[in-house]
Each structure stands twice: as C-alpha cells, then as structure tokens.
Symmetry: none
Subunit: 223 residues, 2 copies
Amino acid sequence: MTSYSTSEENYIKAIYHLQGEEGMVTTNELSAELKTRPASVTDMLKKLKAKKLLNYEKYQGFRLSAEGRKVALGIIRRHRLWEFFLSEKLKFSWDEVHEVAEQLEHVTSKKLIDKLDEYLGFPRFDPHGDPIPDQHGKIATHERVSITVIPLNQSMEVCHVGNQAPDMLDILKHNNISIGTRLEVRKKFAFDNSLEIKIGRQQPFILSNEVARHIWVKKIERS
Amino acid sequence: MTSYSTSEENYIKAIYHLQGEEGMVTTNELSAELKTRPASVTDMLKKLKAKKLLNYEKYQGFRLSAEGRKVALGIIRRHRLWEFFLSEKLKFSWDEVHEVAEQLEHVTSKKLIDKLDEYLGFPRFDPHGDPIPDQHGKIATHERVSITVIPLNQSMEVCHVGNQAPDMLDILKHNNISIGTRLEVRKKFAFDNSLEIKIGRQQPFILSNEVARHIWVKKIERS
DNA sequence: TCATTAATTTAGCCTTGTCTAAAATATTTT
DNA sequence: AAAATATTTTAGACAAGGCTAAATTAATGA
C-alpha cells in the first residue's frame, strides 16, 4: 500500500472538499483553503499529478483522479472515525473534535482504523452529521435538506452543519442547536429570508438566512 | 507550551531510554538506537542543546536536562496510554501495539491525552508492565502484574503469589516456581486461557488460568 | 481588438532533517 | 609515548515543503 505525506494528504483532502460532483478546482481556491501561497500549491499539484492522483493541466484547473478520490475517502474515513471517537467516547464537545481529528487522521495503520471502526460499532455518520466511508470507500447518504427549504411546522432532526466557523458554532450553541436536535420552522420572513425556529417547548427564536442555510435536517426516523 | 517536531521527540525519547539514572549517552549509541548516521545525530544534539533540553559538550557525551526529562516523560505518557488503549479497547495483540503507538504518541493535544487517561481509568501501568507517567510526570514505582496479562516471550520475575492454599503451593513446587523465579510465557491458549510457561532451560509446561492468575511478576530490574 | 488586470507558474531561496566524505579528537595497542 | 584505531564532528549536498519576486498566460473591459 502506497502512503502519502501529511502534506500531500492535506492537499488531497482539501481538493476533494472543493471539487463538487463535476467542478474543477483552481489554484487560488486551494491556496485560500490551505492558507498556503499559490506558488507552493502549484509545486504540490505537479507532485500529485506525477503520482497520478490528479488530472491537471497548467492554467486549466484540476480535479482528483479515480485513485485520488479513493485516497481522499480513506483520509476522510480516518478523520470522521476519530471525530466520532472523540465525541462519543472521550466526551469532547462537538465543536472541539475537528482540530484533534485533523492530527489523528494522519496516523496510517489500516488495522488501527478498522479496529477502531469495529470498536465504535461501525458508525455511519460523524458528530457533524457527515457520512463516514466504510472500508471500501462506500458512503451512506441520508436525505438531508437545508432548513431554508423545509415545510412549515414539520419537526425535523438536525443532521449536518455545513459551516464550522467559530462564530457559527457560537450561534448554534447559544440557541441549543446540535446534531440530533429536533426543530421545526414556524414562519419564513420573505423580507430577509430569516426563519422563526422552535425547539420542543422552548421559546421560538429567529435565525438569519446566513445561518439557516448551513443547517441541514432529515426526517425523523421512527424506530 | 512549547512543542517539538516528531524527529526531536524521537531523539528525546531515545536518549531518555538510553541514559539510566546516571550514565552518559554517546553519539554512536544514539545513532544505533535511531538507525540514523552519527553525523545526523550530532546535528540534532546541537539543536537540542540550543533548546536547553540537553547537557552536551562535544566529544564528551550527553544527557537530558531537567527540562528534557520532563519532555521525555510527556512523550512516554502519550505512548503508553495509547498502548494501553490499543490493547485494552481495540484488542490489539502485544506485538502490534508498539508500532502504532509510535505514531499516535506524536499527536500533541494535552486535552486529548488527559481525557484519554480518564477514559481508560487512569491506568498506572501499560500492557508491558511499564509505568505510565501522570499529568505531572510522576511515575508509579514498579508494580506487579499477573502472568495472565504479560506479553509473550518476555522474561519476568515472580514477586507475589496471590493464593496460599496447599494445593496451589503444591503445583508451584512441582513446577519449580517460587518468589524470585524468572520465567516467560511462551504461548497463550485462547480456548481455556491456559499458559505455556518456560523457566530457564527447563522443559516448558502448562498452567491453567486458575493457577496462573494468582502468580504475579514484575519487570526484571536491570542494575 | 488591444490594453489592463487577475490568476498561475517559474525561478531562486530558506529550513528541517537526512546523508557521505573528510577532518578532528579520543582511545587503545604496542 | 607514539602509532594505530575508533569515535565524533565539520563541511557540503540533497529532498520536501514552504516563501517572495518576477514572468507568463488567461480573462476582462474600453
């Protein structure tokens, strides 16, 4: 099994996140994402291309090759399993897990990760609601939608937060929103697209569209 | 909190292990331990000296400063807690934990380590019977473990027998086991948890788990 | 379309940690 | 005690991964 440096892994992961289903990634985007100068990014792109992880032509943008995506999924698997472990077992709060998982994800031992997976009970979603790829890179999907588009007065479960910025987390914390929270939208204000949200028996409160669009929910699974 | 590169940490740890209570370490010894050329070792020694982790004069050998020992104990703490975790929770076998812990030990998050410690129940000895330094670098003095949990093929010294029943003593006598006897476990039979024991050049023999769990050993103290 | 601006790449330099070859210092042998 | 040998250090090089400044290519707008 080939393995990659921490730096290479960080590039691969960032590219994976930036490229959607179809789109190309640009040098500047990646530079911004990694907080690394564009010139350094170009250097690494050449290296990743040489290793056949990247489809890249100068000045033309780039995306991961099939092999590159496979590698990316492996890294993401490690990251999310560690996040799950930190949150579930070590009782880290869900806004603290990312930074530590960022380091743990670079420990490459297939056995470690597979045993950790087993120990955790093969979780399919991490504490942020993102799916955890399995050994074969397969990722579960659940039907999730942003709360900006759900029908009024229908209770849904928060399953994903699409923005990890501290200010964002601050707002969520302030309003008692976390993964698993059940909420409903009571009213949509057309003027600024803000939403009135209600959680259980708490007093309803307002979320701006800026915030709301990053909060994703799914149907409540009855058991 | 100052932190150190993976490479620096590996040097510090190796020096800690090589220097006993009193002795000086030589460049060649360290070079052999780390499988790194002596010239490279010299370079790193200069760097560690500049960071005041080392008492070092050229051609004279070296040892860790007080600060260096503190750093070493932190690394060892991380290493041994991870070994404990791998063995206890993830069910890694003995010979597999070291290599993985070697990587995990370089993840530096005080919070991670302290929470892991708590999660594991503040273990004082790792699976090899080596003491785990606490948050303050304090290490428990050598303690004993049952031979049911020691690694294979590692010679240990019997220091306690937890059952004084005549039938027990009969078995011990029959197999030439007494306090101070040095023995090693050659094989563990998962079916009934019995152990194959070897003492010196004698023929190996079997002990049932019933008996074995009452026999306690400690590390052989090197003088 | 042609000039200006923005994005990207190249060129050259720096740091970390490694190496080899050669020089300096210690140690051992005779 | 001098010669031979072993150990350690210095000098100079290299790869990885970053940076700045300058050059090149692409995109935009008059």
